[in-house]
């Protein structure tokens, strides 16, 4: 087997190495943007060195010729990988396995279906494949050494025009890779309150902010903060759910977290059934107190 890991940026590269190292086989990393990370144990680091990555048709046209010399091409499950990698699989006419959480052997993997309510063991009956993996299934990569870097000039071709793009507000870590996530639900009454209460605790813990679909749909929190089956899947060391009752869709996105804390006025809320620590309290009292005591 020969493995190419596709990393959209340096954070991705670190996550990719945890999968690469788990295979126990040599691997190369292709990093699309930012300065290449070279201490991840890759046999070789290929670098596009771009300021940003292009739309999927352009990107996949450049990834196809590079991928052809490998038997497996993998990337961290993110929206950008979920956009591009299946297209790459189509261009190569390779099968694909989404959201791998465990490697059983070279051709057998475990992945969730039905919003994580069932795990399936799947077998690949083909010598090549594309896959995406979830970080929760793999331990953090060992760092050390220096891999050789090869600059590659991508051969882009496509028809899509990007007219505009919003960027993440700086300061907070990316939800999908954060060690701590603080999420809020519909009880936060408006965007300003959400940012002050949920954002305040997240900042005190150096964590990311998440939200329920209800909070996003009511305009309290931004779309990209949605955690759950149809939003982001998170797997932090600490997940704090404040004012979240715990819909199946939301819980599907958080159950790989190491420690889940639920803070809710309703002691019978389903979230308490999966929380390691539950506090029945009003979040307007408990969160500011928690924030203040953590800051000390």
């Amino acid at each position: 087997m020969s493995l190419l890991l596709i990393a959209f940026d340096s954070n991705d590269a670190v996550a990719c190495a945890s999968y690469g190292q788990a295979t126990g086989k040599p691997f190369d990393i292709l990093q699309i943007t930012e300065a290449p990370v070279t201490d991840l144990g890759a046999a070789k680091v290929l670098s596009f060195g771009l300021p940003s990555f292009p739309p999927a048709d352009f990107l996949c046209a450049a990834l196809k010729p590079l991928s052809e010399s490998y038997s497996q091409v993998a990337a961290l499950s993110s929206m950008r990988a979920k956009d591009a990698l299946p297209r790459l699989a189509g261009l190569l006419d390779w099968p694909m396995i989404t959201d791998v959480v465990e490697i059983v052997d070279e051709a057998t993997f475990v992945r969730p279906i039905l919003a994580g309510s069932v795990l399936t063991k799947v077998r690949l009956n083909h010598p090549t494949c594309i896959l995406t993996f979830r970080p929760a299934g793999f331990v953090a990569a060992n760092r050390g050494g220096t891999s050789a870097v090869e600059q590659v000039k991508p051969a882009f071709a496509g028809a899509t025009k990007r007219l505009s793009q919003s960027s993440r507000d700086g300061g907070r870590p990316d939800l999908a890779g954060a060690k701590v996530v603080v999420s809020g639900g519909r009880p936060l009454k408006d965007a300003e309150t959400f940012e002050r209460i949920i954002g305040g605790l997240a900042d005190a813990l150096g964590g990311a902010v998440g939200a329920t679909r209800a909070a996003v749909d009511s305009g309290i929190a931004a779309n990209e903060l949605q955690v759950g089956q149809t939003g982001k899947i998170v797997a932090p060391d600490l997940y704090i759910a404040a004012g979240i009752s715990g819909s199946t869709q939301h819980m599907a996105g958080i159950k790989d977290s190491k420690i889940i804390v639920a803070i809710n006025t309703d002691g019978d809320a389903p979230i308490f059934e999966i929380a390691d620590f539950g506090l029945v309290a009003d979040l307007y009292d408990a969160l500011p107190e928690l924030t203040q005591k953590i800051k000390k």
């Binding site: 929206m79 694909m96 799947v122 931004a222 990209e224 420690i259 539950g278």
Partner: protein, 246 residues
């Protein structure tokens, strides 16, 4: 202008489904089936576009045994003009579904293919992008807003960092996300009335075998309820003991 909407019949997304004891399959006794919710959003979007531009012709297509007719009829009742049923009880993976759809695209020559970003049963998120690749046409996945002008589509799509706006020449493929629209409710009489709309049957035209196979289904390790703490100080002490806060 022609829009093709591929739809899939899936297990009711709100059903609690468990694997059989022996792990050989899912226990589907007394489970209902629906149009994949993301595909239903795609049908709804096509119908809304047609309401703005009556020149639009909407074709829905599905792949499967006789039972998928229920979902095709529902899509017709929502406002699609015609349906195509590719009759097959074979097993498929995403690649082989995309190739079968490609044959329909070659015959129909749609300007836009509009479909769900993923199915809520297998959660793969592959078929749309694979189809776009096989057809060598541009794609915009996870759409939250779609506008058509002659010969081009402008799509607002959800990304890891917020959203972006892409413009693509037709033909192109768009996959739908939750926020695009809320599908209309179709009462039963509406579904019965749609029986007069054309539903064409066709046979499989490809012979690709699935290259990914499910060997076993199992329940994930359950998380159990932990401990209730009395106040913030107790919570901080527990989290410090676990080493997740300092």
């Amino acid at each position: 202008m022609k829009i093709l909407v591929p739809i899939k019949r899936v297990i009711d997304p709100y059903a609690k489904v468990k694997p059989l004891e022996d792990g050989s399959a899912l226990n589907l006794s007394s489970v209902k089936f629906e149009i994949n919710p993301f595909d239903e959003i795609a049908v709804e979007e096509a119908v809304r576009q047609k309401e703005k531009n009556p020149d639009i012709q909407i074709t829905v297509v599905s792949l499967g045994g006789p039972e998928v007719e229920d979902q095709l009829r529902k899509a017709l009742a929502m406002g699609a003009d015609e349906a195509i049923h590719i009759e097959s009880t074979d097993k498929f993976d995403s690649n082989s579904v995309a190739k079968e759809l490609m044959a329909v695209v070659k015959d129909l020559q749609p300007d836009v293919i509009l479909m769900g970003k993923q199915t809520t049963d297998e959660d793969n998120n592959q078929t749309g992008q694979m189809l776009a690749a096989y057809l060598n046409i541009p794609q915009a996945t996870f759409a939250s807003k779609v506008d058509f002008e002659p010969g081009k589509a402008t799509v607002t799509r959800e990304t890891d960092t917020g959203e972006e706006i892409l413009q693509m020449p037709m033909s192109c493929l768009i996959t739908t996300d939750l926020r695009l629209n809320e599908p209309r409710f179709i009462p039963l009489p509406g579904i019965i009335k749609a029986r007069s709309k054309p539903l064409h049957k066709r046979e499989r035209t490809t012979s690709d075998q699935p290259r990914v196979e499910i060997l076993e289904y199992k329940a994930p390790p359950a998380r159990s309820a932990g401990k209730k703490v009395a106040n913030v100080d107790e919570l901080i002490a527990e989290l410090q003991a676990k080493g997740v806060i300092s």
